[in-house]
């Protein structure tokens, strides 16, 4: 059974091999990695094209300026001297000059090319080292008909572009390696953290119900989720314990009355009084079932939707009046000390039953002559309803257990009852958002319900 259910929990961290496609951790990590790579590519392309365009613009501007300035020189000889002085080929980013006469014959400058049309243009010139080479040129026609060309080898920009590309390629590789390492670390981290949850789940499926997810000190999202799951597991474990307890209690506590009923039925033919006793036992069993179902209904917690404002003062007075004669008849006395106008939000019938059960409990478990006291007071927005007596009290060992189902104090083994009355009281109190406190009244016994009062 357990083995066949192991496969219900998906292997997250325990499988020796993880298919990468099926691992969410790797998927997340590689998605991050791909996003970084794409961002790098886009950034590189943007920088490259922007820088290239800017360099070209600046170069065009520079040769235009140079050509325009030189062209303004009125004296031809001066101009020739300037061209000769500036046009020293050698530096790769140096300007190249050419001066053509009216007929298009080159008469000065080191730029070996045919005369281009006026304005900006890309031309082919004869580089003494590299042969035919492209260059960017600005051509001006002087007023005297001569044509001045200022050019720069295109290689200058291409070199800069290549440098930028090389830099980016290097950076890209470095970042990619970094991102890849980061992604792998992230994937491993995610797998490890999720693996802990998976391992815990598998351990629980395998039967170790007390395993919990280890919580780190960081208090991060994984820790928070783990803590929430642990809290849920605790709650489920509590409910399961409760259920197990109830089942075994029912099995144990119903056997005795059922056996008695069976014995009475056996005696039907010989004992004329057996039928009546059997009926009584049947009634008692039904009442027991009724109590169990009632507690289950109250603990189920679906009742709060039907809560209404309840005048707890009037209700307590009323229940006190109802139980008073029976308590007197049993040889005990009842004092009521109820403060007026205390209201709570709740179910009046359940509250009445809870108060009734408290009074019933006090009546049944105290000796004759005991004074039972029902009191209600408001303390800091909390309605404190308590039933106390000056009887022998309850040993400390029984005090906390007494609110559980079917639990009865050692001293009350011989009195009638199933040990469900106070369980219902505790359940009703909890359903109303209240607490139930069992205490020693020196002498005697006291149970106090602290219920939040209705907002006025």
């Amino acid at each position: 059974m357990i083995l066949s259910r192991r496969c219900v929990v998906p292997d997250i961290g325990c499988a020796p091999m993880i298919r990468l496609k099926s691992s969410a951790a790797y998927r997340i990590a590689f998605t991050c990695f791909a996003a970084v790579a794409l961002a790098m590519l886009l950034l590189g392309a943007a920088v490259y094209f922007a820088a290239d365009a800017e360099f070209r613009r600046q170069r065009d501007h520079a040769i235009t300026e140079e050509a325009t300035a030189l062209a303004r020189e009125p004296d031809r000889r001066e101009l020739n001297a300037e061209i000769a002085a500036r046009g020293r080929p050698g530096a790769p980013d140096a300007f190249l000059y050419a001066l053509f006469d009216r007929d298009g014959k080159r008469i000065a400058g080191a730029l070996h090319t045919t005369r281009p049309a006026p304005g900006l243009d890309t031309i082919i010139f004869d580089d003494p080292v590299e042969g035919q080479d492209p260059a960017r040129a600005y051509t001006v026609v002087r007023p005297d008909g001569q044509t001045l060309v200022v050019a720069q080898d295109s290689e200058v920009i291409e070199t800069v572009d290549a440098t930028i590309l090389a830099l980016f390629a290097g950076a890209f590789v470095v970042v990619l390696i970094g991102a890849l390492i980061g992604a792998l670390l992230l994937a491993n981290y995610l797998r490890r953290r999720l693996g802990l949850i998976g391992e815990t789940a598998q351990a629980i499926v395998a039967g170790d119900l007390h395993r919990r997810i280890p919580i780190g000190v960081a208090g991060d999202e994984f820790d928070q989720a783990g803590a929430a799951i642990n809290a849920m597991l605790d709650r489920i474990a509590h409910l399961m314990d409760n259920l197990r307890q109830v089942s075994s209690d029912i099995a144990h506590d119903l056997r005795t009355p059922l056996l008695r009923l069976r014995n009475q039925l056996e005696r039907l033919e010989t004992d004329p009084g057996a039928a009546a006793k059997a009926l009584d036992q049947g009634e008692a069993l039904l009442a027991l079932f009724g109590s169990i179902l009632r507690i289950a209904e109250v603990e189920g917690g679906a009742l709060a939707a039907g809560f209404v404002p309840v005048d707890l003062s009037a209700l307590a007075e009323d229940v006190g009046d109802s139980y008073h004669p029976a308590i007197i008849d049993s040889g005990r006395s009842l004092d009521c000390d109820v403060a007026p106008a205390i209201a709570v939000q709740g179910n009046p019938e359940l509250l009445a039953q809870a108060i009734g059960n408290l009074l019933d409990n006090a009546r049944v478990h105290t000796p004759h002559g005991t004074t039972i006291r029902l009191s209600l007071a408001a303390v800091d927005g909390i309605a404190r309803l308590s039933v106390s007596d000056n009887g022998p009290g309850v040993p400390a060992a029984d005090r906390t257990r007494i609110l559980q189902r079917f639990v009865r104090g050692e001293a009350s083994r011989t009195t009638p009852g199933a040990g469900l009355g106070l369980s219902l009281v505790a359940a009703v109190s909890a359903a109303h958002g209240g607490a139930t406190l069992v205490s020693d009244d020196n002498p005697g016994f006291r149970i106090t319900l602290s219920l939040p009062m209705a907002v006025q």
Binding site: G290, E349, N357, D360
Partner: protein, 225 residues
């Protein structure tokens, strides 16, 4: 009385039928909700015992349709659900009474009697009289043979229920529901202790007890006949 029993459990039907026959009543059992609706709408019954869970049409929808069709035959809803919410739903659907399974037949019989013989609701009744006992509903005063009997409010309420049902059995749970509004077993015998005080006060100075205990069923106010 002629009573329609809409119930799909054969054992429950037999249990109710036999009990009603012993009391001299006629019962008409139907096992499906549709049949129950058809017969209840077309024939005359004194009361309907309606199981909450029937095949094909659930008891509460059936009840709502009956009431919508202006069929006002008294209805007792039987249910295995004894929850607080369930009971409210049953009464809201138009049930006159609500009985949680399993129940003693005496309980059902007493409730059927109370429903069927219920005097028409009227504001004009201000005074009840049974034998030599009178109860003034306005002044909340009781007298026996002209002598005033001083009663506590709860005792007055118990007396009123008994007098309205004079000659018929009122069960312990009926007292709990009508006088206290409790739909649970209070463990402590609060009904008995209040009733014994009522009976002692009514008996004071007289030789007979106007209220009798019916073993295994409840209490009954004696009538002259």
């Amino acid at each position: 009385m002629r009573i329609l029993i809409a119930e799909d459990d054969a054992e429950t039907i037999e249990f109710i039928e036999r009990g009603l026959a012993e009391l001299g009543h006629e019962s008409v059992p139907v096992a499906s909700g549709i049949d129950a609706l058809l017969r209840a709408a077309t024939e005359a019954f004194d009361a309907i015992v309606l199981d909450r869970m029937l095949p094909d049409l659930d008891g509460l929808s059936l009840l709502r349709r009956l009431r919508a069709a202006s069929v006002h035959t008294p209805v007792i809803v039987l249910t295995a659900l004894g929850g607080i919410v369930d009971r409210v739903e049953g009464l809201e659907a138009g049930a006159d009474d609500y009985l949680v399974k399993p129940f003693a037949f005496a309980e059902l019989a007493a409730r059927l009697n109370a429903l069927v013989r219920r005097p028409p609701l009227s504001d004009t009744i201000v005074r009840l009289q049974v034998g030599d006992i009178t109860l003034d509903l306005l002044r909340r005063e009781a007298t026996r043979a002209g002598r005033s009997v001083h009663l506590q409010p709860r005792e007055l309420a118990l007396l009123e229920v008994l007098m309205r049902q004079a000659g018929r059995i009122v069960t312990r749970t009926m007292f709990l529901e009508t006088v206290w509004g409790y739909h649970f077993d209070p463990q402590t015998n609060i009904v008995e202790s209040h009733l014994s005080r009522l009976r002692a006060k009514l008996r004071e100075g007289f030789s007979d007890d106007p209220i009798e205990t019916v073993r295994g069923a409840g209490y009954r106010m004696r009538t002259d006949d």
